[in-house]
Structures are given as C-alpha cells and as structure tokens.
C-alpha cells in the first residue's frame, strides 16, 4: 500500500504569471518521458525482476509520484488565476475548451497519456536499460524546459528535478552491475 504525506518533496515557487510555461510543463506531467510514465513503468516492472533490485524500483517509482505532484503544483500555480483570454494567449485555448483549468494527463502538444509509452519486457537487463534511457530522456526534457523558461524560481525547482534524474540513472546503472555480477565473486569498486 502507499501512504500520502501532506508535503512536497521540494518547495515549488513560481515568480512570474506566465501560463505558457504551464503548457510546456505538461510534457513532464502526461508525456512519454514524464513523471507519470516513470512512476508507472518502475512500479509495474518490479513484479518480474530479481529480488535484489525490487526495493530500488519501488523507491524510485514512489519518488516519481512526488515529482508528479511537484509538476502538478507548477501547472496549477501557473493556471489557477489565469483568465480564459490569458489561457488563449498562452496557446491553451484547446485545453480550456475541454478542461477549463483542470489538469489533464497529456503532453505539451495536448496528446493524451497512453500506456504505450511504457515497456515491460520481463527481461531484467532490457527493462533496466529502458529505465536508464527513461531517466536520460527525462533529464533532457528538463534541460529543454529550463532553456524555454526565464522564471528563476521555477527553474530552481526544475533543476532539482533534473538532478534527481541523474541520481536515478546512477542507481539503475548500479542495478545492472548487481545483476551482472558473477556469483561468489567479490564486487570490485
């Protein structure tokens, strides 16, 4: 089971009223390499992977939900006080027509989330390599978002999230090393 904590993992501040940024951020909300895809991918893979890496998939998958909540917070803060006119100017009129200012699992281009973004091969190495690739793709997405945004406070939170991708990729690479290891042989650091 899961337990909810009534706090964000990292403080989210937004300094400028710029709903266009909300549109870009949706890439990490409901996009192919976004936080929802990451959480669902890891938590689903853990049922069919050697015991040694189940804990890691569980804990990274759970942290991804905390990141999803941070992205949701950014989008919420950027759109909650926006008028329909401001949303239209931000390129969000199609979103508004269907959702008002409700959040929706879609990417920056408005394509709805699909389970097809997620793979589950059942082969531990194939699955962990996908996870490493997913972390690098998410890291790259955060870079492009930082490039597009000129909000210093928002970029501070985005940099935190980008750094987490670096650490997660590191751990998945270590997981591959653990599964590669020959039995009865000492680990070489």
């Amino acid at each position: 089971m899961w337990k909810y904590e009534k706090k964000l993992q990292y403080p989210v501040k937004v300094s400028t009223c710029n709903p266009t940024l909300a549109k870009y951020l949706m890439e990490q909300y409901g996009g192919a390499d976004g936080e929802l895809a990451a959480a669902l991918r890891y938590l689903n893979q853990r049922y069919t992977i050697p015991e040694k890496v189940i804990g890691l998939l569980t804990d990274i998958g759970t942290e991804e939900f905390a990141h999803l909540e941070m992205i949701a917070t950014m989008i919420y803060k950027l759109t909650k006080d926006a008028t329909p006119q401001q949303l239209r100017d931000a390129g969000l009129s199609e979103h508004y027509a269907s959702h008002d200012s409700a959040l929706y699992y879609e990417n920056a281009a408005g394509v709805p989330f699909t389970a097809a973004y997620i793979q589950a091969k059942g082969d531990p190495i194939a699955d962990l390599y996908e996870d490493i690739a997913a972390e690098e793709k998410a890291r790259a997405t955060y870079q492009w978002l930082i490039d597009l945004s000129d909000d210093p406070d928002l970029n501070d939170s985005l940099r935190f999230l980008r750094e987490r991708e670096v650490v997660h990729s590191q751990r998945f690479r270590e997981a591959v090393e653990i599964l590669k290891e020959e039995r009865d042989r000492k680990k070489i650091f």
């Binding site: 337990k3 009534k6 993992q9 990292y10 403080p11 890496v53 890691l56 917070t73 751990r171 653990i178």
Partner: protein, 87 residues
C-alpha cells in the same frame, strides 16, 4: 479573503523537507549498497530526527500523514487546507 500561512509553517516545512531528502538519498544508496553500515547508521539518525521535526510541526499545523495523532479533539485537521500544491 486570501488565506495565508505564518512564516514558521514554511520554515518548519523546509526543515522536514531537508531531513527527508537526506533519507531519500540514503534509501536509494542503500538499495544498491545494502551492507554499508555507516550509511545505515546515518539513515537511522535521520529517521529519528525527521520524526521529531514532524511531531513538532504536526502539533501546530495538523497531521502530515494518516496515522499521526489528530491533536485537536473536536476538529478533523487532515482535511484542512493548505494542501501541498496550494502553499
């Protein structure tokens, strides 16, 4: 009227976020380094420290998680704003 939270709310919350972040990092590290006794010791220290911080915070601002004591006998504080995305 716009609702606001006192400065202590933000300060205490960030102390908790700081302690819990150390925990998150140690958890992921220990998942791939399960025999590092020093890291386990540091994890246990921070786990205890985080619990203390949360107890203080919850006595003023209500439960952070279900399972914490609801310290006001006649009002269910869990359901009270602000939620994390609102602060």
């Amino acid at each position: 009227m716009a609702k606001t939270m006192p400065i202590e709310y933000y300060q205490q919350l960030e102390e908790i976020q700081t302690a819990d972040f150390v925990l998150v990092e140690l958890v992921l590290y220990l998942d791939t380094h399960p025999t590092d006794a020093q890291a386990i010791e540091q994890y246990n220290q921070y786990a205890q420290y985080s619990k203390q911080l949360k107890r203080t915070f919850e006595s003023q601002f209500g439960p952070l998680e279900l399972g914490s004591i609801n310290q006001i006998p006649d009002y269910w504080q869990w359901n009270r704003s602000p939620w994390p995305w609102e602060v």
